[in-house]
């Protein structure tokens, strides 16, 4: 087995990890800030793919789909927060979990009714068809684009949370919403925006996954499981954790795929079990939170 194959395999793992990061990010942000475990995350990922496909065919451009679908689905997420999730704040964590679990079934069935249960083709944008020679192997242009976009989104998120006034309010709100209220901050609006952001990120993941997989109503099911594994390994609520864990899981899957390909799915659950044994709160999780 030559070195270039191993490097190529590592690189595939990082690319796969980037997709995992983007799906886990929305889940972990919503939990970290709102304490809501969003079981509809996978379904909203799927909705994002369908919305992206629909908008792309409507406008004739993948790029409009990529831009508009997360915004629209994010707005839909805000509607869900305002109408459904908001009523359950302050109750046990199980209640919003059950609510979003039910919601995921409604969304999947809804899409089946509107678009049918067959897969729908989602063409790769013409500018990104083909492969690039990386020196150690050929890699699809589109997947390179996904890595770059995920990096940009992460940077933007970090800047927003760490360097802006809004970010300050968000971080403070996650720590102590009571004090924020006393200080005159309308924390309800912050939660609304955060939920919308989380859902928008799920949708972005869906649009990005569209050209790599067939788009179908069940495409979110596996994604939800993957996002949870990444979130749990990284620590529920930790953004850094989601990034590190996402890349770690991606590389693990990839290396296992090289030596024992039939174990490629199982390995992420094994990794999760191993991490939980050593650090029950996850790699970057706070004690008592997970």
């Amino acid at each position: 087995m030559d070195l270039s194959l191993i490097i190529m395999q590592l690189f595939s793992g990082i690319a796969l990890g980037a997709v995992l990061v983007i799906t886990a990010l929305g889940l972990t942000i919503v939990f970290g800030m709102l304490g809501v475990v969003n079981f509809a995350h996978g379904a909203l990922f799927m909705i994002g793919a369908y919305a992206g496909l629909y908008l792309a065919s409507l406008t004739g451009s993948f790029w409009w789909g990529l831009l508009l679908a997360p915004l629209l689905v994010g707005a839909f997420g805000m509607l869900i927060e305002r109408v459904l999730v908001r009523r359950l704040y302050g109750r046990s964590v199980d209640d919003p979990l059950l609510l979003t679990f039910g919601l995921s079934y409604i969304l999947v069935e809804g899409v089946r009714i509107v678009f049918g249960s067959d897969g729908i083709p989602f063409p790769t944008p013409s500018q990104l068809i083909g492969v690039v020679d990386l020196g150690f192997g050929f890699f699809p242009k589109y997947r390179l684009f996904v890595i770059a976009l995920v990096a940009v989104v992460l940077l933007a998120l970090w800047l927003m949370l760490e360097k802006t006034r809004v970010g300050l309010i968000v971080r403070a709100g996650a720590r102590d919403p009571q004090i924020m209220r006393v200080l005159g901050v309308d924390i309800g609006r912050v939660w609304l925006a955060i939920f919308g952001l989380g859902v928008g990120l799920a949708a972005l993941g869906g649009v990005l996954a569209g050209p790599m997989r067939s788009v179908n109503p069940e495409m979110g099911t596996l994604v939800l499981a993957e996002a949870f594994v990444v979130t749990v390994i990284g620590g529920l609520g930790s953004i850094v954790g989601a990034v590190v864990a996402g890349l770690m899981v991606g590389v693990c899957i990839s290396m296992v795929a090289l030596f024992a390909p039939e174990m490629a799915t199982i390995v992420m659950f094994a990794l999760m079990a191993a991490v939980l044994l050593v650090r029950p709160q996850g790699l970057f999780g706070l004690k008592g939170r997970a």
Binding site: D2, L5, M8, Q9, S12, G13, A15, L16, V19, Y105, E109, S117, D118, G119, I120, P121, P123, T124, G130, V131, G137, F138, F139, P140, Y142, R143, M212, R213, S214, N216, E218, M219, L222, V223, I253, S254, A257, L258, P261, E262, M263, A264, T265, I266
Partner: protein, 415 residues
């Protein structure tokens, strides 16, 4: 999603009243079937209506319903109407066994047709053969032909991996070629791999690598570097349903088609539709049926016409045709037997010569495998398609012959 609605505690709320009302309507719509004096002939039909094979399963149901309708339109069998009882097996062997048991014990079906996964059909077969109920399987399997899983009640209408892979290999492999395999890690994949390797041995093509992938995987990118480093002439991708669409799509993204030819044991109509012509262009695979056969086969033209008439001009698909011929051959045998008495129907099936979708077929005596033609198809380039349904070119149409099958003695049957 089917569910067992249980009214919650407390008095009659509006929700409970609605539940009760809808349950009542459901009961009216589906009259109880336990009545022994009922003259209706009931055929159980478990198939994975939900999950990654949902598209294929739905076509099976449509075609099975068509076969039933055509018989009922002609007055049924010996004056009795035929009814199809469709159940969702969720692509799960346990679920399928439970549903089949229910069909037999509660709904008192006279025979079972269906299943779409090699593992699930074996579970259905376990239940039916233990209870002496006829089962016509319409999912690919080699195992079901073997003496171990066989019973006189077990019939196999679908092609089996041995027939399919041999036909595909004959068209695509040559002596000295290097072949790599990407295989779904479950019964179907393993059987296809075995079939291909047997065909390769006969042709003289070498295997340079085998990669098993987890069933139902969404991402195949991590298998691609290894497959490319093997530098094969042909890549055989042996998986089914959405796995096929995703694996081929991602292989194409990695530029695999520039290096090697992609071959699949069974090229799926619905999956080709799901990822588009550019991705599938040039992919070669086997099939039991393709609607385009109508230009060279009269039966296919008639079957297409009947399906179009019943489904608003739509065309039948590969796995759909299995639903039609599986139920259709069973009903023909019941017609010949003059009813549903199991031993007589088994004898009638064994003696049956039928031509329902694509030319003459019959069930071989020793293992009840349907001897039938095998198509080899190549996915067309977008510019070569005459219309949206013009998906494949027919590369070969091998007529059915006993020599295509493994011999009865090899399968362990007394000869």
């Amino acid at each position: 999603m089917p569910s067992y609605n249980r009214p919650g505690p407390g008095g009659i709320s509006r929700r409970n009243a609605l539940l009760g009302a809808s349950a009542g309507i459901a009961t009216l719509a589906m009259p109880r079937l336990g009545r022994a004096a009922d003259e209706t002939i009931r055929i159980g039909f478990p198939t994975p209506l939900t999950g990654p094979f949902a598209a294929e399963a739905r076509d099976q149901v449509k075609c099975a319903e068509l076969a039933v309708k055509l018989v009922n339109d002609k007055g049924g069998i010996a004056g009795r109407k035929v009814e199809l009882l469709v159940r969702d097996d969720k692509l799960n062997a346990g679920e399928a066994a439970t549903r089949t048991l229910e069909l037999i014990e509660k709904d008192k079906v006279h025979a079972v047709v269906g299943a779409l996964s090699s593992a699930v059909q074996l579970a259905v077969n376990e239940v039916t053969r233990a209870r002496g109920v006829i089962y016509v399987s319409i999912s690919q399997s080699d195992t079901i032909n073997e003496a171990k899983d066989f019973s006189k009640f077990t019939f196999h209408e679908a092609l089996n991996p041995h027939m399919t892979t041999a036909a595909v290999a004959r068209q695509t492999l040559k002596k000295g070629m290097k072949v790599a395999h990407l295989v779904a890690d479950y019964a179907y994949g393993h059987e296809m791999l075995r079939g291909f390797k047997r065909a390769q041995a006969a042709i003289g093509a070498d295997t340079v690598g085998e990669i098993l992938h987890p069933f139902g995987a969404a991402d195949y990118s991590t298998f691609m570097p290894r497959l490319m480093s093997l530098r094969p002439d042909v890549l055989c991708i042996s998986n089914f349903g959405r796995d096929q669409a995703n694996a081929i799509k991602q292989a194409v993204d990695f530029g695999i088609k520039q290096q090697m030819k992609i071959v699949v044991p069974v090229i799926l109509h619905n999956q080709r539709l799901a990822v588009g012509p550019d991705v599938f262009e040039g992919v070669v695979g086997g099939a039991n049926y393709y609607w385009g056969l109508e230009t060279q086969n009269k039966t296919a033209a008639e079957f297409n016409a009947a399906f179009r008439a019943a489904n608003g001009g739509a065309i039948p698909t590969d796995y759909g045709a299995y639903g039609y011929s599986g139920v259709g051959s069973l009903l023909m045998a019941m017609q010949a037997a003059g009813g549903t008495e199991t031993d007589k129907v088994v004898a009638a099936l064994e003696a049956l010569q039928y031509d329902l979708t694509k030319g003459p077929q019959h069930y071989r005596k020793c293992d009840h495998q349907s001897v039938q033609s095998v198509l080899v198809l190549e996915s067309k380039k977008k510019s070569a398609m005459a219309n949206d349904s013009d998906l494949f070119a027919i590369v070969a149409n091998d007529p059915g012959a006993d020599e295509m099958l493994r011999s009865c003695s090899e399968l362990g049957h007394a000869t």
